[in-house]
């Protein structure tokens, strides 16, 4: 089990190492544009609870990037599956589905971790220095656990690259904009807030922002992220066999 898990994870990390500069550049582009656009457009006039908009944005970008980068493992899995045929190498090996899924999920979480560091460094460049304590990292890691597990599950179910990009368009993009990245969810009407409560990203953004602003985060948000993550992980385990035919 452990050797299989290490093999799957190691393969992904070798690829990350080989593409590191390109990967970091791609992780920085969108957040940099958001920071430039929103920070300069809004200046210091827009404030939330005494924090500038740039300060408000950084924790949201940490949550959003950890989601996007962990979910991006689905694209790599599908390139390996449909283009290189590598997935068959894993299927023909005597490893458990759990080893495969755990290796890919951890690879997704590792990518998310790099993305978080990139955002925090960008924040520093924009003069933002908040509280980046352990609970912030825990929330971000749980968030990436949710989306990396979801990514593996969906990557096993799709039948082509085109299906994969549809999923990104319909699942990830709306969540990125509605999950508390760019505005406080509590400013929305009650009905909208109730709907957004069901998005894992909302819980991640709020927890990360609470820690970054020096407040005590709601432990229930962590429980939701851990629970949803576990469900997605179990779903991923189930779907590995579906990819076989």
């Amino acid at each position: 089990m452990i050797q299989g898990f290490i093999a799957v994870y190691l393969r992904e990390m070798i690829i990350v190492k080989r593409r590191f500069k390109r990967l970091v550049a791609s992780m920085a582009v969108s957040p940099l544009l958001y920071l430039l656009a929103f920070s300069y457009a809004m200046g210091g006039e827009v404030k939330f609870d005494g924090f500038t908009y740039t300060e408000f944005l950084i924790p949201g970008l940490v949550a959003m990037s950890s989601m996007i980068q962990s979910f991006a493992i689905a694209t790599d899995i599908n390139v390996a599956r449909f283009y290189w045929g590598i997935f068959e190498e894993f299927q023909a090996a005597p490893i458990r589905n759990a080893a495969y899924v755990a290796g890919e999920v951890l690879a997704g979480m590792s990518r998310a971790l790099i993305a978080i560091v990139v955002i925090l460094l960008l924040g520093l460049a924009f003069g933002v220095n908040l509280d980046y304590g352990p609970l912030l990292w825990l929330a971000a890691l749980l968030n990436s656990f949710v989306f990396a597990s979801l990514a593996v599950a969906l990557a096993m179910l799709v039948r082509s690259h085109a299906d994969q990009s549809l999923l990104t368009s319909f699942v990830i993009t709306p969540m990125a904009f509605l999950g508390g990245t760019f505005f406080p969810v509590e400013r929305l009407p009650d009905w909208a807030e109730s709907i957004l409560f069901f998005l894992p990203l909302t819980h991640a953004s709020e927890s990360i922002r609470a820690v970054a602003f020096g407040r005590v985060p709601d432990w229930r948000a962590y429980a939701v992220l851990a629970g949803v993550g576990l469900l997605c992980f179990l779903l991923a385990l189930k779907t590995v066999n579906k990819a076989r035919d």
Partner: protein, 278 residues
């Protein structure tokens, strides 16, 4: 040893395998021939755990592929038809990942990689990215990878497809060498001369069924040793004769318009199914 009983596979209403019975002995080189869509690759995919069977049983060295799938997988190495190496990894990294997937301990794995790189004459290419290699070199990496964990059964699915004749013959030498080391080899190919040169026994598959199975020399002898191809209004006609003299006698009085040649496995297949091996 491979034991297959009534192996079946359906994709919805389409039947890919209609009940295959087969037994391949330890150390045997067995060729599995047939036209595109006959079920050759499907059989290999089932036996190597890439596709689930619909019915029947299959044992690899007494391990049931359904109930003891991981033990069965440990028995086999696979050289797939499609090159499925990781282009962004080096040759050595590809082999290393494979060794880890088969839980090979570090020292053994590193040693075995060196041995196999030497075996397939790729030592100097070990640190090259796979995407920089030619098709023939990639095929050799696939063979090294398949052999890395000391499989007792090696599945070769069209191992020389698309390769130049000289590289193909080089790979044949490698396959013979692997068999001499005691490995059971299950080969699919559409190069009929490949099967004739390499195989101890061949099976012809058509529409998911085995239509002929025996040693190549026996199958050829059953049809007759010699063939005469003759151009007729309806196309090429082939007649078979037990020996050269009988064939010459039949063609007596005709100087042109026919070709006298030895019977080969393709004739056997044509006679069985009326189709050409592809």
């Amino acid at each position: 040893m491979i034991q297959i009983q009534n192996l079946q596979k359906s994709y919805g209403k389409t039947r890919a395998l209609a009940g295959i019975d087969l037994r391949v002995g330890q150390g045997e080189l067995f060729a599995y021939l047939g036209p595109n869509g006959a079920g050759k690759t499907t059989t290999i995919r089932i036996l190597t755990g890439l596709t689930q069977l619909t019915g029947g049983t299959a044992l690899l060295n007494a391990h049931d592929i359904r109930t003891r799938s991981r033990a069965a997988k440990r028995q086999c190495g696979l050289v797939p038809q499609q090159i499925n190496l990781d282009g962004e990894l080096t040759v050595r990294e590809n082999l290393d990942i494979h060794g880890r997937l088969f839980a090979m301990p570090g020292v053994t794995r590193k040693q075995r990689i060196l041995e196999l790189l030497d075996y397939v004459e790729l030592t100097e290419r070990a640190e090259n990215l796979v995407k920089q290699l030619s098709g023939g070199l990639k095929r050799r990496v696939l063979i090294a990878r398949a052999l890395l964990h000391h499989p007792r059964i090696l599945f070769l699915d069209e191992p020389t497809v698309g390769l130049d004749a000289d590289i193909r013959r080089r790979i044949w030498g490698l396959i013979k060498k692997i068999q001499q080391d005691g490995t059971t080899i299950f080969l699919t190919t559409h190069y009929i001369e490949e099967a004739e040169f390499l195989a101890d026994r061949v099976a012809f598959l058509d529409e998911g069924r085995i239509v002929a199975l025996d040693r190549p020399d026996r199958l050829i002898a059953e049809l007759g040793g010699w063939a005469v191809d003759q151009l007729a209004d309806s196309g090429m006609q082939t007649r078979y004769y037990p020996d050269r003299e009988a064939a010459r006698e039949a063609m007596a009085g005709r100087d042109t318009g026919f070709t006298l040649r030895r019977v080969n496995l393709e004739d056997v297949y044509l006679a069985q199914t009326g189709k050409k091996v592809q």
